[in-house]
């Protein structure tokens, strides 16, 4: 057999996941619509005054992003588990953490990246002052890979439980708290005119750490789940 390198195997898994996801576009679009709808609800509920909306904008956008990342996160490994592909991934010659990282990357491409692109629209709807838009997008850019990685850990742990949706949310949301605090603090800094450099760097550091450790946890969880 021609030996395919681990790297090639990972990209194949990624391309296959992308091909499958593009056949189910609603799974990609629905969480994004969810964010937009949640964001539009706020001006209706708390009133259109720019001072209030502008102050809560970051929090609202980030909480909406966290909740939307939980939508459909169950599905991250569920289909692979049900159709037997998860077993085959475990048996693959490529290291399982690498394949897990590939799946996390695809998840981010389809859920995190669109959110970053969507952020200006949300910021506009909530009248976030323009000077903070860049920081908001930056926090989302470094924060959403972390969301994908941590969601993957939770999804891998609960994949064999059948209906693990609610449990998954309860497991994951507390873990997102540091992310929320630093992201909000970064945008706040920009708003008061100081540099958000520190908070963004800290988020970036957390992201790298998560991306390094989460695939190992995902791999361990998958091995338990196929057991």
């Amino acid at each position: 057999m021609n030996k395919a390198s681990s790297w090639q195997l990972m990209t194949t898994v990624m391309r296959r996941d992308l091909a499958v996801a593009l056949r189910r576009r609603s799974d990609i679009i629905n969480p994004l619509l969810f964010v937009v709808i949640v964001v539009t609800l706020f001006p209706l509920a708390v009133g259109p005054g720019p001072d209030i909306l502008g102050r809560i904008a970051t929090g609202v956008i980030w909480v909406a992003a966290l909740l939307s990342s939980l939508l459909g996160s169950e599905r991250l490994f569920r289909d692979d588990f049900l159709d037997g592909n998860l077993e085959q991934l475990v048996l693959s010659p490529a290291p399982l953490p690498l394949l897990a990282l590939g799946k996390v990357a695809v998840h981010w491409l389809l859920s995190g990246l669109p959110l970053v692109i969507l952020a200006p629209v949300c910021a506009l709807l909530l009248k976030l002052p323009f000077e903070a838009w860049g920081t908001l997008m930056l926090t989302l850019l470094v924060g959403t890979p972390m969301l994908s990685a941590m969601t993957a850990v939770g999804a891998a742990l609960t994949v064999s439980l059948g209906r693990g949706g609610a449990l998954l949310s309860l497991l994951l949301l507390p873990l997102f708290i540091p992310l929320l605090i630093f992201a909000a603090a970064a945008v706040e800094s920009t708003l008061v005119g100081t540099s958000a450099y520190g908070q963004v760097l800290l988020l970036a550091g957390l992201m790298l750490l998560t991306l390094m450790l989460a695939p190992l946890a995902v791999a361990a969880a998958i091995r338990v789940s196929v057991n």
């Binding site: 159709d83 693959s92 010659p93």
Partner: protein, 214 residues
């Protein structure tokens, strides 16, 4: 004859029930092992242990005289496991499934069209797998057998949902594999139309510790 796979004193307990204990088996090149037993007796568990997906409570599995944990890569390249879940992506077409599968198996020189023809799915290549019948999906899964270079095939209920022609085709492929010095472990509730001394049978029974080895 060289020993391909050897299981030593395997014991497996699932959900508090002993499926089998001190089960040993040995399979040489060109031999076929038929694991028999009623539903839920532990046939799939045994196969999953041999494939390396499950850890037995006690005992070891050796491949080419090496224990499983010493060389996982040899294991992964020399064994092919197809479980009763077909590992076919329902959203993708038969052709796409085969295309990705061959790449995942590192067989980049395999022509997916040729493979489709071999397993009798030509003409259905652009239909998503979820719209195909169970037997056709199984054919997609089993297409891996036609290019696999693995020495040991571990197949859980490979004949499920296949029609008589498909079963015949699979038997021919098994024959080729064994003649090339490959080995095969399978479970099946269908009687195997196999003749010759190359066939071993092992029976796993429900009544906890009872085991007969023919």
């Amino acid at each position: 004859m060289s020993v391909v796979i050897e299981a030593k004193q395997l014991t497996s307990v699932r959900a508090g029930r002993t499926l089998f204990s001190t089960l040993s088996l040995q399979l040489g090149a060109g031999e076929i092992l038929h694991v028999e037993g009623p539903n839920g007796a532990g046939k799939s568990t045994l196969l999953r242990i041999i494939a390396g997906l499950l850890q037995p409570l006690e005992g070891e599995v050796w491949l080419f005289g090496e224990p499983q944990h010493r060389d996982p890569e040899l294991w992964q390249r020399q064994t092919l496991f197809i479980g009763h879940k077909p590992a076919v992506k329902a959203e993708l077409t038969a052709l796409e499934n085969l295309h990705f599968q061959t790449q995942l198996d590192g067989a980049t020189d395999v022509d997916a069209w040729q493979l489709l023809e071999t397993v009798g799915l030509l003409g259905l290549e652009d239909i998503p797998a979820q719209q195909l019948s169970a037997g056709q999906q199984r054919r997609i899964a089993l297409a891996r057998l036609w290019y696999s270079q693995a020495k040991l095939w571990i197949l859980d209920e490979p004949f499920t949902a296949l029609d008589t022609y498909g079963i015949e085709l699979l038997h021919q492929r098994f024959q080729q594999h064994l003649e090339n010095g490959g080995s095969l472990i399978l479970t099946s509730h269908q009687p195997l139309t196999w003749s010759g001394e190359r066939l071993q049978k092992i029976r796993i029974e429900h009544n906890d510790e009872e085991l007969t080895d023919e």
